[in-house]
Symmetry: C2
Subunit: 425 residues, 2 copies
């Protein structure tokens, strides 16, 4: 196989989230492999920490140049079309990339359960823009309340409703409770931000349904101690200007945040492979799509149904990261002419962070809550989850800003532009 | 005046609340004065502790025989008519009482601000029956929730709304939070009583509006720490079967408790004297009605507008008790042919009890909150507010049952009958 090994293999990775970044990272030190990553911006966004950005208690980004180094060519662009038969990706800018292997890791967007009109009132939290938009709305709501003479309108401004009690909703609720309790305490004269209402509405019987029941209970108690009104079995039936209707309640509010449903990126449907109801590619046991061993779909864009312990692997960062490393391995196996093994998910547990100093950790063997859970979360972040270059530099900065409450002021100035992105690097 | 002093003077006191009981108590050891007290039941109900009866954390009654002894003749009856010109009181039973002095201390009932139909959905807390009815509704709501398969209906059963953020509403909210947190914790299998929602709706900008603002704030924080959803500037606009509407919110609930407005007893209007909008007698500086020095109206039934520090004295137990003692004094002054002095209210402060171990005390010089406030409340109750016979026996029993959480089980068995009243004595 030596003559083949001398040939260079081109791997194109679409999407620089947990899955795509880990795939690129796994391959980047091989001299016989060229890697091109296509992502709309040059910074990696740590999605599972976006809620902290909303509360302005941490920086959730790092530039790919720092993370991945020179081994990966980054194209700040989006994909216009994938010509599967010709193994070519056409970018929005007009550029074309020919590939030997394509890794589609474009993630998911929110799904409004057949009510797309709700999106106008209830943005979700998936991207950095989402986090900044939510932060902007929340700050604006406090400012409007400060100037509002009508008490009913003032209360509506100060009511924040989060729809969906999964990890994103729970962490967002904790973040908003924190904004209310600490960050804003001294900034207003006419309102007391502690009077703001933060409601977390969950349609099912408990929040964090993927966790063991006693940890759901603990999370509920923690949120309540932070002043969050946690309402389970409260299915949203309508969202319109100024109000949410759920389980018979009408809640006047100007700020609704959606954390309830996911839909895979539309690019997945364009591949023409079988998908599930959420638009995720139904992948083979090796994460490729049927009939195309060279085309992998991983992370939230994929539905992996071959796990012996789960009907469907959850849309979490550990699954995404393990699949990223796995497809890197399988490409190396192909290059070395080894047989592919099927993907196996190693469930190391789950973590949810609720405000400063509280976390709910389900580490399979040990269940942790409170401060211990939170310290474990920091520890895992630094030494386990983010397992690549310069982790010490990046993570210690994050941990420091989190612990010291240092504000990421440069992040809250408005919408993103490429120039601003560069400034962050 | 010696021949006049030998004549016996007959004082009739209508109503055995704080005002009437203190008036009778003040006169009872005088051999030249006969006292008849008319009250629908033979037990004194400590109204400011009725909220504890709702939470079943204390006994709020004591029989008049123990409190006042033989010096007062008690007629368990109600007044049908007062013939002012003939100085005669006709009772519902048909008996007639001729008087030299009449003390009308019939208190107040709830006022629904022109929406009398709300009373069907939202009972108030003024009498022992009210307390037992509210307690019955709350316990029934938990039991219904336990058996309810529909989650939306279950939540409605478990939502308790208190309208009015004065002392009664605040103390009731604390009592319901306590029911939820402690008393019921182990009694249910299908529901967690801690999931119950307790909302306190206040139309004005702060709860306990008669207290200094920082104590209102402290009370709000204490209630929130007990898990009560305190909503100010939230005016109720409609109460109907299964819901309350307030400030744009629709709150599905089967249990609404009214603590928002007062209306003097209808007997006051029948006196034909000037009244204010709440139906209270506009009394003279000596608490008598114009043209009738022998007819006093005191306590919540009266509007006293001659105080140099207040436009109108509040409807509180200290005002009632001081007026009770005062009219006793003035009757003694008349008998001794001394000149009457005008009534002056001595404001010793205010106290509100929020759950077990929290109280808000505004004692003019010292403002107390938390455990200290609560201990002061107990102390004042035992040694100051209840300043009559057998106080040690009665109050230590109350304090003991409060501290030990002993249940007043005999009080929760149903509606009152005279036989049951006797059983309590």
């Amino acid at each position: 196989m030596t003559e083949l090994a001398a040939q260079r293999t081109h791997v194109v990775v679409v999407g620089g989230g947990y899955a795509g970044t880990l795939a690129a990272n796994h391959l980047r030190q091989r001299r016989d492999i060229d890697i091109t990553m296509v992502n709309p911006r040059p910074v990696f966004v740590e999605r599972i920490r976006l809620h902290q950005l909303v509360a302005d208690t941490g920086v959730a980004t790092a530039d790919y140049a720092t993370l991945l180094g020179d081994g990966v060519r980054l194209m700040v662009d989006t994909v216009g079309h994938i010509a599967i038969a010709g193994r070519r990706v056409l970018l929005a800018s007009g550029a074309a990339l020919d590939y030997d292997y394509l890794v589609v890791a474009t993630g998911a967007r929110h799904s409004y359960f057949g009510n797309p009109e709700w999106e106008a009132w209830a943005p979700g939290l998936k991207t950095l823009e989402d986090a900044l938009e939510i932060r902007r709305r929340v700050l604006l709501a406090f400012e409007r309340a400060e100037r509002e003479p009508d008490p009913v309108a003032r209360q509506r401004h100060l009511t924040f409703v989060i729809v969906g009690g999964g990890p994103t909703g729970v962490e967002l609720a904790g973040a908003l409770a924190e904004i209310r309790r600490f960050a804003l305490k001294r900034d207003f004269r006419h309102i007391d931000p502690r009077d703001a209402t933060v409601m977390l509405l969950e349609g099912g019987p408990r929040i964090l349904p993927s966790y063991p029941p006693h940890l759901s209970q603990k999370a509920k108690e923690t949120l309540r101690s932070l002043g969050v009104d946690v309402r389970t079995e409260t299915l949203v039936t309508a969202i319109a200007a100024g109000e949410v209707n759920a389980a018979g309640w009408r809640i006047p509010t100007d700020t609704v945040i959606w954390a309830a449903g996911n839909q895979a990126s539309p690019l997945v449907r364009s591949l023409g492979c079988p998908t599930d109801r959420a638009g995720r590619a139904l992948v083979e046991p090796d994460c490729s799509i049927p009939g195309h061993r060279e085309l992998f779909v991983i992370g939230d864009a994929a539905a992996f149904t071959h796990d012996p312990d789960a009907k469907l692997l959850p849309g979490t960062s550990p699954v995404a990261m393990q699949q990223g490393r796995y497809v890197g391995d399988m490409i190396l196996a192909d290059v070395a002419d080894r047989t592919r093994r099927p993907f196996r998910y190693h469930d190391k547990g789950q973590l949810a962070v609720i405000g400063r100093g509280h976390a709910i950790a389900d580490l399979k063997r040990v269940k942790l809550t409170g401060l211990v859970g939170w310290l474990v979360w920091i520890f895992i972040h630094i030494f386990y989850l983010i397992g690549f270059r310069n982790r010490a530099v990046v993570m210690l900065e994050w941990a420091w800003s989190y612990l010291t409450f240092q504000r990421g002021a440069r992040l809250i100035t408005g919408t993103w532009s490429p120039a601003q992105d560069q400034g962050l690097a």
